[in-house]
Symmetry: C2
C-alpha cells in the first residue's frame, strides 16, 4: 500500500489506529486453546472486532516464532485474514548485512505480503537499504523506542542524541514514500524535535495504553499536513477482557480510540 | 552449552571455527532442488562434511524465513541434525521490549534448542536481559559489525565510539558465562581496544573469507587466555564449489581453516 492509499484509508476510516497483534498465548481468553489453532482463532476474532476502527495491523513476530513452524503458519494465516483495505506491518525489528537483509525483505514483502517491516538501525545503511527496494513497501526504522532501555544508547550525544543521527542520516536512504520511523509515545516530548528533522515522514507510535503514553500529546506534536501518524495499541485492545466478552471489549476499546482520533483529526483540521 | 564445555570442545577439536549456514537457495549446487527439501539436504551434507573441523554452527534466520513456514521447519530440522558436541548459534539479530524479547528467547532457546542468539543493542538493557536468563544459554550482542554500514553509527563518538559504549554498558547486564559480542573480522584493528574493554568475553567474529578479514589478525588481537574466539565462515565453505564435488570442497575449506587455527593456537600456547 503506497502513501497516497494509506492517507486515503486514514481519512475514510477517520482513524490512524494500528492494532498490534501481540497474541500472547498465556493471555488468551479461556475459551481458546493455548496453541497455534487457538491463537489463529483469537486473531481472527480480534480482526473482525476491530477492523472498522483501525487502518493497520501489526503482528509482532516474536509471539509467532515462539510456536515454531506452526507459529509461522499462524502468522501467514493471520496476515491472510486481514482485509486488503488495511496496512500490514511485520513488527520484526530485523537488520543484517546487505545480502541477508535482502532475504528478510523477500520473506516479509513477497512471502508474507506485508506492507512494511520494522528495522533496527545499528548496522547502518546496507542493512536498511534492501527493504527500500520494493515498490509500495516500507521500512520502518527504530528511532526512539518506548521502552526503559531506550535511555541506554539512543540519547548518547555526539553533538546531538544518537536517535537524531539515525533520523538525519537514514532519511537520505529513502523517501517519505518508503520510509517511516518508530517513535515511542512515552517519548512525546521529543516528538516536536523529531518533526523538525523528519517533517514529512509517517511515524509509527507504539506505547499508548499499557505503556502509558498519551494520545493527545502524540497528536499535538506528531501530526503533520498528511496526518503522518500510525498509533499502535496492542494489549489494551487484545486483552481488554479475558472473559467471554473479549470481542465486544476489544471492539469497544478500539472504537474509543478511534473516536478520540476522529476528534483530534477534526481539531487539527485534517478531515 | 556452558563456557567450560565450549572451551573444552575448542581444545578437543583444535578449532574455533563456526560454520555459518547461510544456505542461499540460489547458490545450491545444481543437484539440489531449489526448495525447502533441497535446502535441508544441502545443510545435512555440509554438516557431515565439516563437523570434524568446527565447534559451532550458525544458521542465519533470514535464509530460512524467506521460505515461510517450510523454511522454519528446515531451520528446526537443520538444528536437530547438528551433533550435540557442537555449539549452535541462531544468527537472528533480534531485540525488542522486555516482554517481547522474552518470547524470542523462548523461541530460540526452548523451541529451537539453540545455545545462543545474536541480539541487536539499539533498544538497550531490557531488550537484551531476557536472553540472559536461561542457564547455559547465551546472548551475543552486536558490537562492531563487519559490513560497510557499520561506519554509519557504530563509530559516532560521545567521548568514545558508540560501539564502545555498547561494550562497556552491556557487559554489566550479564557475565562472560552468558554474554558474547559480535566483532567483524574486517575491523581487526579495533580488536585490541575491544579486548581492553571486554578481556574475558568470547567474541563471535564474522567476516573472514568472502568479506575479506584475515584470521591471523583476528587471532593476534582477539585471543585471550581461554581462547575466547569463535570465528565464522559461511559462503567460503558452503559454496566452495557449486558442482558435484561441493561436499569435498566444503570439507577441504573447513579443514584448511582448522589447520590454520590449530597452528595459531599452538603459536599462542593455548593448546
Amino acid at each position: 500500500m503506497d502513501r497516497e492509499a494509506l492517507i486515503a484509508a486514514i481519512r475514510t476510516r477517520q482513524s490512524f489506529l494500528c492494532v498490534g497483534l501481540d497474541s500472547d498465548l498465556e493471555k488468551l481468553p479461556s475459551s481458546f486453546s493455548k496453541d497455534a489453532a487457538g491463537m489463529l482463532a483469537f486473531n481472527k476474532a480480534i480482526i473482525a472486532a476491530t477492523k472498522a476502527y483501525c487502518v493497520a495491523y501489526k503482528p509482532n513476530t516474536a509471539f509467532y516464532e515462539v510456536l515454531g513452524k506452526e507459529g509461522w503458519a499462524v502468522l501467514e494465516e493471520t496476515i491472510a485474514a486481514i482485509p486488503d483495505t488495511h496496512f500490514i506491518i511485520a513488527d520484526a525489528k530485523r537488520g543484517d548485512i546487505g545480502n541477508t537483509s535482502r532475504q528478510y525483505a523477500k520473506a516479509f514483502f513477497e512471502g508474507l505480503q506485508c506492507d512494511a517491516v520494522t528495522v533496527a538501525p545499528y548496522m547502518g545503511e546496507d542493512s536498511v537499504a534492501p527493504f527500500l527496494q520494493f515498490p509500495g513497501k516500507w521500512a520502518i526504522v527504530l528511532a526512539l523506542t518506548s521502552n526503559a532501555g531506550s535511555r541506554d544508547f539512543q540519547h548518547l550525544t555526539d553533538q546531538k542524541p544518537f536517535y537524531q543521527h539515525v533520523l538525519a542520516q537514514s532519511q537520505q536512504w529513502g523517501t517519505p514514500e518508503n520510509l517511516m520511523y518508530v517513535v515511542g509515545a512515552t517519548q512525546a516530548e521529543a516528538l516536536s524535535t523529531i518533526r523538525d528533522i523528519v517533517p514529512d515522514h509517517f511515524l509509527l507510535v507504539p506505547g499508548i495504553g499499557a505503556q502509558g503514553g498519551r494520545l493527545e500529546d502524540v497528536a499535538r506534536y506528531g501530526l503533520n499536513k498528511d496526518i503522518g501518524l500510525l498509533v499502535n495499541a496492542s494489549r489494551s485492545i487484545l486483552f481488554a477482557s479475558q472473559d467471554d466478552d473479549f470481542q465486544e471489549a476489544a471492539s469497544h476499546a478500539a472504537q474509543e480510540i478511534q473516536i478520540k482520533m476522529r476528534n483530534l483529526l477534526e481539531h487539527h483540521k485534517l478531515l
